[in-house]
């Protein structure tokens, strides 16, 4: 067997796991979710979901990974296969490879923006630019255009550099590559974050062009609107945030944990990595973006800008705001902000490479380097449409199906497998075996009952999300008016409700034609993702047959 990877140290493993969880969303998504869902009060549903869904799923993923690893499996298809006699579980495990490949395909592009913006901050690209010019620069960048409207190779160059860097680190192995990157990246991320948080909080109105004190933004973000915690949408947002921030339902945690020996701890490791992610998200993530943006732009403009998420604010506005801090400090702040996002991104994208490599090494006896380059090649091919057709919605489509829906489906099925098929007696033994802490018995109950129900509700709510609020929608349903799906619901997406409405309401026939083109790209992306899933499922089937032929143990 070619797979003889191992972790170098326990701290390295925890930093790699925390790095896997800490991503761009910690700094760009969390603060925006908080201000849109009750400010300071958002933390209540958020922490409840962390305790009832986040931590139980972390225990499940760490322990099933270690269990599968003890049988020589390092990717979810055969980890799941080893947990039950029924053969279909390995096809559920396909999600644990599919999601990583498909998410890496667009995530590495996003990661390359941060690398590129580090460079542009250093060379002074944003010097003297107005807020509109900085925003336009980003629009041109993702449209692969320079300022004059000509084709620009720069985004593709940085994307390829980013892919090469990921592949090279992966080819160095778990302890020599991934762990080293985490040991460098995570401390730097914390230092950069602490510096920026200090700068943000100490912004003074009237100094360096600021309109308000930095604490005005903090006050805005943390002011609790307790009435919000009775709204279902706030709980859905909190559950979604917890889910995505911990990188649950991806298959990468299981892969990392599969390299831990059976007698070694997973409970304390899982707690450490999970809480470290919370520290970065809640303590640092809340203290940078919103305080700086509100300090310079005011609350109303920030509320308006965050309606489309935190990406715009992070890339289209922050470079302009840093320019107000003077020549030297603008370079330092740009380097630290985009450097922080880059480290957050790369420690996550590296985790996406390991399940694919584990599968190729376990099933086909590939060596580490060819497996890493195969991953890089696949991501290059799959990522190309997200780069070339970003404005046609391909990037968003990958993000929705692979980076959102697939995670919830996978997590729901894996917790059913763990708690109800593998069984909680065996499952609890797996969690507590070798544990360096006493795991509260409450988690046994939560894993069996609360977490699956929460995941089921999250999935159903995402599928059936109504156009208006839930109360009004149920009243309409019971009075015989039917159910109107939101364009953002899974069913609404499948029906292309959003883009069809845009086409119907287009002001000119030219715009309608452009939207029809966009719809074509969206449908092609979905087909591509479906083919990718099917292709991986076929490989798993082939590997299974190969195992049978070679007389190798499956379950």
């Amino acid at each position: 067997m070619a797979n003889n990877e191992a972790w170098g140290s326990r701290v390295g493993l925890i930093l790699a796991m925390a790095g896997n969880a800490v991503g761009l969303g910690n700094f760009l998504r969390f603060p925006v979710q908080a201000i849109q869902n009750g400010g300071g009060a958002f933390i209540i549903p958020y922490l409840v979901c962390f305790l009832l869904m986040g931590l139980p799923l972390l225990f499940v993923e760490w322990s099933s990974g270690r269990f599968g690893g003890s049988k020589g499996h390092h990717s979810t298809p055969f980890i799941f296969d080893s947990m039950d006699k029924r053969k279909f579980w390995k096809y559920v495990g396909v999600f644990g490879i599919f999601t990583n490949v498909a998410v890496a395909a667009y995530y590495c592009y996003l990661e390359s923006w941060t690398l590129s913006y580090v460079w542009h901050s250093i060379v002074g690209t944003f010097d003297g630019k107005t807020q509109v010019e900085v925003a336009t620069y980003f629009g041109d960048y993702v449209s692969l255009q320079d300022g004059a409207g000509a084709f620009s190779w720069s985004p593709i160059f940085f994307w390829v550099i980013c892919l090469l860097l990921n592949t090279w680190i992966l080819s160095k192995g778990l302890s020599g590559g991934v762990e080293k990157a985490a040991k460098i990246g995570m401390p730097l991320l914390l230092i950069f974050g602490a510096f920026l948080a200090y700068k943000a909080i100490t912004i003074k109105a009237g100094v360096e062009g600021a309109k308000f004190d930095g604490v005005v933004g903090l006050n805005f973000l943390w002011s609790p609107d307790f009435s919000s915690i009775w709204q279902p949408k706030v709980w859905l947002a909190a559950a979604g945030q917890v889910f995505f921030t911990l990188s649950l339902g991806m298959g990468s945690i299981q892969c990392y944990a599969s390299y831990i020996r059976k007698k070694d701890d997973i409970a304390l490791n899982a707690m450490s990595a999970g809480w470290m992610n919370e520290f970065v998200e809640v303590v640092l993530g809340s203290a940078i973006l919103i305080p700086i943006a509100v300090g310079y732009l005011g609350i109303e403009q920030v509320v308006e800008m965050t309606k489309s998420g935190g990406l715009g604010l992070g890339f289209m506005t922050m470079p302009f705001l840093f320019e107000q801090w003077g020549t030297v400090m603008s370079v330092v702040a740009g380097l630290f902000w985009f450097g922080l996002l880059f480290f957050a991104g790369i420690t996550s994208s590296l985790a996406m490479g390991t399940p694919v490599m584990g599968f190729l090494q376990d099933e086909y006896g590939w060596k580490r380097k060819p497996a890493a380059w195969a991953f890089g090649g696949i991501v290059l091919l799959l990522g190309l449409p997200t780069v070339l057709f970003f404005n046609q919605g391909v990037f968003d489509e990958y993000d929705y199906w692979a980076g959102t829906v697939s995670l919830v489906v996978f997590a729901l099925l894996e917790i059913i497998l763990f708690a109800w098929v593998f069984g909680m007696d065996k499952g609890w033994r797996e969690i507590t075996n070798g544990s360096d802490i006493k795991v509260p018995l409450f988690f046994r109950f939560a894993i069996k009952w609360i977490t699956p129900i929460m995941l089921g509700v999250l999935f159903l709510a995402s599928m059936l999300l109504p156009e208006s609020d839930w109360g009004t929608s149920f009243s309409a349903l019971f009075s015989g008016e039917g159910w109107s799906f939101s364009p953002d619901s899974i069913i609404g997406k499948i029906m292309n409700k959003g883009i069809n409405a845009e086409i119907a309401n287009a002001a000119t026939s030219e715009i309608a034609d452009q939207l029809r083109d966009k719809k074509f790209y969206i449908n092609i992306s979905r087909l591509g993702l479906l083919l990718l899933w099917s292709g991986i499922a076929y490989l798993v089937y082939h590997a299974y047959k190969k195992r049978i032929k070679e007389g190798r143990f499956t379950s």
Partner: protein, 46 residues
């Protein structure tokens, strides 16, 4: 900052920082498991 916002922020951030610090401290101070363990860095020390 308003009292409500300040209280919410301090309670949350202090709690999360203390819990994170506690678990990381436990990791650093817990007695290492007997070899062979999962980690290669300490292999030459036994």
């Amino acid at each position: 900052m308003s009292t409500g916002a300040l209280a919410m922020m301090l309670i949350t951030e202090i709690s999360i920082t203390v819990i994170t610090g506690y678990f990381f401290y436990k990791v650093l101070t817990t007695k290492k498991h007997e070899e062979p363990d999962s980690f290669t860095d300490n292999d030459d020390k036994t």
